[in-house]
């Protein structure tokens, strides 16, 4: 059933999908990110295998974590395949950053790639170095 009321995105509020260990840890990660980057646009922790959003925070309807969770999960699977095929002569993937015109997206696998954490910020609020460092601190 697709009821728009139930699908409405809670804005500026940390939402956690379930109540297990993983969800608790994800909540901590996003709380930590919010403490260090109060102006962030969106943050979410996603199960890489299923693409399910475990915990998320967003400031506007335009940044819907459900719309990108699966696509980013697919992206990570491609990266895993690439590393398995030895397409890159390098160690495991640490993170992926995408720099857009006025914002940047940062994606970091955690728990041996079982989950990933996604972060979007305006470049006016944080630079890539800061975003990377904050993400590293909270997800490891």
């Amino acid at each position: 059933m697709n009821l728009p009321f139930f699908n409405r995105l809670p804005l500026r509020k940390l939402t956690v999908a379930t109540d297990d260990e993983m969800a608790k840890r994800s909540k901590e990660v996003i709380e930590g990110l919010l403490r260090d980057l109060p102006d962030l646009l969106m943050a979410c922790v996603v199960n890489t295998q299923s693409g399910r959003v475990v915990a998320s925070y967003t400031v506007s309807n335009a940044y819907n974590p459900n719309q990108i969770s699966l696509r980013n999960a697919k992206l990570l699977r491609i990266m895993d395949e690439a590393l398995a095929a030895k397409a890159w002569a390098g160690g495991p993937l640490t993170d992926i950053s995408v720099i857009l015109e006025d914002q940047l997206h940062h994606l970091r696998p955690m728990h041996n790639g079982k989950w990933y954490c996604f972060l979007a910020v305006h470049t006016a609020d944080a630079n890539l170095g800061i975003a990377k460092e904050i993400m590293r601190r909270h997800t490891s």
């Binding site: 990108i68 030895k86 397409a87 002569a89 160690g91 495991p92 720099i99 857009l100």
Partner: protein, 124 residues
């Protein structure tokens, strides 16, 4: 951006001249996922496979950005591996990208971005 267009082969040569310590560099066509020009400084590096996988990464990432309807252009995509940086930068019309792999001990992100940015504008 300069109006002068430079061939993929020349772009690869220019980047190599500026960054002799790079691990691999390639100009890849997005449509086919094949390298138009490439160079690698490591022996067991299959640039054809790398190009194909990188194309998939670019496509997957563009889809994810498109899903958000942000109306923004992707400037560049950066993959951090344990001791390497891989940078993917699309050409202005989006049909090719420059792929640059460097050792993070030799080259930092700002240097790699600067070099790729300089060359992607005139790529054709």
């Amino acid at each position: 951006m300069s109006a002068v267009t430079v061939s993929p082969k020349q772009t690869v040569k220019d980047i190599m001249a500026e960054l002799p310590t790079l691990l691999a560099v390639a100009v890849v066509e997005v449509e086919t996922g094949m390298p138009l020009a490439s160079h690698a400084n490591i022996a067991d590096f299959d640039i054809e496979t790398a190009a194909a996988y990188n194309t998939e990464v670019v496509k997957a990432k563009l889809k994810a950005i498109k899903a958000l309807n942000l109306n923004q252009t992707v400037q560049d995509i950066l993959l951090t591996l344990t001791d390497q940086l891989h940078l993917l930068k699309l050409s202005p019309n989006g049909d090719k990208f420059i792929y640059l792999a460097v050792n993070s001990r030799d080259t930092n992100l700002a240097q790699a971005r600067q070099i790729v940015k300089m060359h992607s504008g005139s790529l054709n």
